[in-house]
């Protein structure tokens, strides 16, 4: 029984950590129409920043400031926000497909840096020993995890409420107007490029927060944690949950993470051991298939509201 509870707590922690990243992505795609294909990169930035700020000092490696948990979280969000700002400024003129390619490339580059800049990131070995705040506050893994879950839930709620409020504010309404028709909304006097940039930065800050929570839970970070497949997982969570819908974003995180872990479990128990090593490949194939099939069967595709008059007319004149 304890095992099951323990497992559920573990599962919920990870789902919600991802959920926070999905909320950030939702702000970017669902509300602003920005196709960020480099999610993994920004999560990674948050993760490494947390590791550097809160981790113990290590030989020949920068950082190890051993700062408190909360400072680490804030630092992670700030650094990923700054990175997002830099990226956003460079890419703000890009149209959808090009933005996808550019952000994808950014994530790959970030991962490359994490892999190679040993002084900053510990290179291929990554960074270990990242402190988990619950270790000092509770006894035994179950209690610690339960406490961590509470931390994640609170932060998730705060993020959720913050984004909901932002979206309902005048700024948020402007965002929606831009998504639908940029020319018309720029005639209203606000600068669409700037508002899009702000949305991009905020979304990436949520992703940074997610990364920071992840590494403080797991305790170590390596460049292999932020491969493109992570971007794919977050996107899948967003799609399954339905975009432009924050509740859906969190729900999607739960469902997809559930399917992912379950498929891993099924594969390791059902598949003969000789091809177990291919288990990762099978999981990936399964998820990829589910996703593509879902996109095909859902006639409205990625955004539930995509079928707008202006969008259709525009595509006919291409």
């Amino acid at each position: 029984m304890i095992g099951l509870v323990s497992y559920i707590v573990f599962f919920l922690i990870l789902s919600l950590i991802f959920g926070i990243a999905v909320l950030g992505l939702n702000l970017q795609w669902g509300f602003t129409g920005l196709f960020n294909a480099g999610v993994a990169g920004f999560i990674g930035i948050g993760a490494y920043t947390m590791a550097i700020l809160t981790g113990p000092s290590r030989d020949a490696v920068f950082g190890g400031f051993e700062l408190p948990f909360v400072i680490g979280l804030i630092g992670a969000m700030v650094v990923s926000g700054i990175a997002a700002l830099a990226v956003g400024i460079v890419t703000h003129k890009l149209k959808h497909e090009y933005l996808a390619v550019a952000t994808f490339g950014i994530a790959v580059t970030i991962q490359l840096v994490c892999l190679n800049w040993e002084y900053l990131t510990g290179g291929t070995l990554g960074l270990i020993g990242i402190p988990n705040p619950t270790k000092d506050l509770a006894e035994g893994p179950l209690a610690q995890n339960a406490l961590f879950l509470c931390i994640v839930i609170s932060l998730g709620l705060i993020t959720f409420i913050a984004i909901e409020n932002i979206v309902k504010s005048p700024w948020g309404r402007m965002l929606k107007a831009i998504r639908e028709d940029e020319i018309a909304s720029s005639s209203l006097g606000k600068d669409p490029a700037r508002i899009r940039l702000e949305a991009f930065v905020l979304g990436c800050m949520a992703m940074g927060l997610s990364g920071a929570l992840y590494v403080s839970f797991i305790g170590y970070v390596s460049p292999w944690d932020f491969l493109p497949i992570l971007t794919f997982q977050i996107w899948t969570m967003l799609i399954v949950g339905g975009s432009a819908n924050n509740r859906g974003a969190l729900l999607g995180a739960l469902i997809v993470w559930g399917v992912w872990t379950m498929s891993g479990y099924v594969i390791s128990n059902v598949v003969p051991s000789e091809i177990q090593a291919q288990g990762g490949a099978m999981q990936a194939i399964l998820i990829g298939l589910i996703l593509v099939v879902m996109l095909l069967l859902r006639p409205r595709g990625l955004i539930g509201e995509e079928l707008q008059v202006s969008r259709h007319a525009r595509s006919l004149n291409d």
């Binding site: 196709f35 294909a37 460079v90 890419t91 003129k93 890009l94 959808h96 497909e97 090009y98 996808a100 390619v101 550019a102 994808f104 490339g105 950014i106 790959v108 580059t109 490359l112 840096v113 892999l115 190679n116 497949i229 794919f232 996107w235 799609i239 091809i275 291919q278 990762g280 490949a281 099978m282 990936a284 194939i285 998820i287 990829g288 298939l289 996703l291 593509v292 996109l295 095909l296 006639p299 409205r300 595709g301 990625l302 955004i303 995509e306 969008r311 595509s315 291409d318």
Partner: protein
């Protein structure tokens, strides 16, 4: 040293060019960034592996290598069969995934679906053939010494020659045949092509066939001169996109020139930056081009 990097750059650029042709065309015609195109290179390479063992069983004359190359007729036949295989895969994907999505959903859905398709294709390769590197043959080759102290393998010379031949062939196809001209017409305006009597859907299938065949050839050449591994195509995604974007979507010569520039800049860059960051170079190129001239060298400015 510089000349060697130059030669290496041209050779890796050739592979990128072959792969970028298909990507460039489909980006223009279907207006979506196809992240699964790179997997056609992988599948082309591995399909050729399968056909290679088939053709090699014929023995006799078939079994011999040609001249200084590491391969014989079997690999050439295998390459042709690989082109057919990837064309079939591409047509299947178009008809059952991308074409359907282009009618029912937006372009970004197609981009995302291509992520998913890429994932499935890539991991299928791992599932079937494992993740260890494989080689077409264990033949040893002797490097040829060119002026300037440049060393190339005979296979690499073949790579270069085949690419040139293919580009010339495609150029003639696009300018002298009615199908090729129709393709260019469809690339500019599908609706005008339709009312002129062109079956645009059929032309689009031809585009996929050409693109997939180019990818298969690129993949086989990569496998021949470097190695086969499941991430073959995936490792080339950014160079492919860089070449396609650089050259301007829809331009044959753009894709070729783009590939060349990507290959050269990648290989020449190691003279300045550490080799471990080499994969980032195409990406930086992408950012640079998109900043300066978003429509690419040969692309049309959106009026």
């Amino acid at each position: 040293m510089f000349l060697q990097h130059l030669a290496d750059g041209i050779l890796s650029g050739a592979i990128v060019s072959l792969g970028a042709i298909g990507l460039s065309f489909t980006m223009k015609m279907l207006r979506f960034a196809n992240f699964s195109h790179s997997e056609l290179l992988t599948w082309g390479a591995y399909a050729a592996l399968v056909f290679l063992s088939f053709f090699s069983t014929f023995g006799g004359f078939f079994d011999q290598t040609i001249g200084p190359f590491s391969f014989g007729l079997p690999l050439l036949f295998a390459m042709a069969c690989a082109c057919i295989t990837t064309s079939l895969i591409a047509m299947f994907l178009h008809l059952y995934v991308f074409d359907r999505l282009s009618r029912s959903a937006g372009h970004m859905t197609m981009v995302f679906a291509s992520f998913g398709v890429a994932l499935v294709l890539r991991h299928l390769v791992t599932l079937i053939w494992g993740s260890d590197p494989i080689y077409y043959s264990n033949e040893l080759q002797f490097a040829i010494l060119l002026p300037g102290g440049v060393r190339v393998m005979p296979d690499q010379v073949f790579l270069f020659g085949l690419t040139i031949f293919t580009v010339i062939f495609l150029h003639l196809f696009m300018t002298r045949t009615r199908t090729g001209i129709a393709m260019r017409g469809v690339a500019e305006s599908p609706s005008l092509a339709q009312v002129s009597g062109v079956n645009v859907n059929a032309i689009i299938l031809w585009v996929w066939i050409i693109g997939a065949s180019g990818a298969a050839m690129g993949g086989v050449l990569y496998g021949m001169t470097i190695q086969l591994r499941p991430e073959l195509g995936f490792s080339l995604i950014l160079p492919l996109f860089a070449a396609a974007i650089l050259g301007g979507a829809g331009s044959l010569y753009g894709a070729v020139l783009g590939g060349l520039i990507v290959g050269l800049s990648e290989n020449l860059s190691v003279m300045i930056i550490p080799t471990t960051y080499k994969p980032a170079v195409p990406f930086l190129l992408i950012l640079l081009i998109l900043f300066i001239r978003p429509e690419g060298i040969f692309g049309e400015r959106k009026r």
